[in-house]
Amino acid sequence: MGKILEKIKQGKMLVSDGAWGTFLQQKGLKPGECPEEWNHTHADEVFDIAKSYIDAGADMIETNSFGGTIFKLKRFGLGDKVFELNKAAAEISRKAAGNKFVLGSVGPTGKILMMGDVTEEELYDAFKEQVKGLEAGGSDAIMIETMSDLDEARIAIQAAKENTTLEVFCTMTFEKTVTGEFRSMMGVSPSDMVQVLIDAGAELIGANCGNGIAGMVGIVEEIRMANPDIPILVHANAGMPVYDDGETIFPEKPDEMAALIPKIINAGADIIGGCCGTTPEHIKRIRNAADHIK
């Protein structure tokens, strides 16, 4: 069993990090610029983000590699840099993490299998190249996230299991439908997801992004109902973004998020962190709330 899962088995409630994309933009990443390229060109800024979450009390941090497959990188003319940019991403987070954990971030490719955009084999090879870079740079686990298609998630998990020795985690993104159920963009429910991801080899599953932490409680309950044992991770957005005078603002304040931590732990979450719009302050408050429970 990997180190992160071992801690969970010991009954530890763990805290993950907050947003990367929105944080990079604050540091000057322009729309249309490649975030992963910053691992080479702005390594100090990327390090600052990683470090700020460690300083806030996170037990683990992600890497700046969400769009790090060849499908996204080649649109910036960086298709031949997949391994290097992912390795650099992991190295930066590794340096910031010290003895804390590093989760190598893997996002969706933006290609749709059933439309014939790509073959399963092409997807597998793309994820394989990325996770090898993330392992070489010192990741402790592969964090496959923001998935909406079950087949793409399964292929990413298999590529990570079969080509690295790391722990493999996977979260999907759900929204509430008009009838009040949770579904991914491709129509997958949290309970549909559970067995497929576990069978593919995921050792921890969960949800990320979404419309805020309140919705996450229901998603965690649904996963827990489908499987009593699988460790669950949540990376929640700071609410649904609102637009104000030329700026997008994520409305959920650190206190609001922290207030729901007991509820989400009670529902069955083992690791809690943030997604878009969350800051080191959010993570500090989540840490504080989690520590007061166990």
Partner: protein, 222 residues
Amino acid sequence: MSELLSRIAECIEFGKINKVAPYPPNMKGQDGADELTRRALDEGISAQRILTEGLMPGMEKVGIKFRENKVFVPQVLMSAKAMSTAMVHLKPFFLSGEVKEKGTFIIGTVEGDLHDIGKNLVAMMVEGNGWKVVDLGTDVKADQFVAALKEHQPAYVGLSALLTTTMVNMEKITKALKEAVPGAVVAVGGAPVTDSFRQKIGADIYSSDPQGLVEYLNSQLV
């Protein structure tokens, strides 16, 4: 004869492309939009009737089900694929002028944003409803939208964005369109976009789902 048209509508609604297509499983081995459209033309049904009584009702049904969250992106994409397969047979009649489009709709994902799934969904739904669609692709800048609108006047313009960081570019593009072409009508949409955002940036229409846009466009026809 009209039975053939309702079968075409069914193929569009459920995304049955052609006979060999495995999707949807319960229509396996049956003729799809491809074969049935060909047969309809061979039997002398006009391209106009195939469009308005076959393709459009099928797309409308899937559009409504999508809005009600009864189907999701994959089903709509399969429907759109079935429709574009049928459209190949109808293309000559559009070119000859025998079938008339309702009007022109220009669409693109705004500057800085490379996401195209939502934009493509809207483009296909609008096209499947009998409109001519000019798809400018992704990462489209204000001057490209303006040039396209000038070229295709009169036309409606749709701006798409997935990211909170790129939707802000909609404001600049909307302003440029309205300055360059007085009376330009601009629709905005995408995951982070809301109607209050639309109001703030001075755009004309927002819909949370593609069908809402189709209904708006149709409502503008005299």
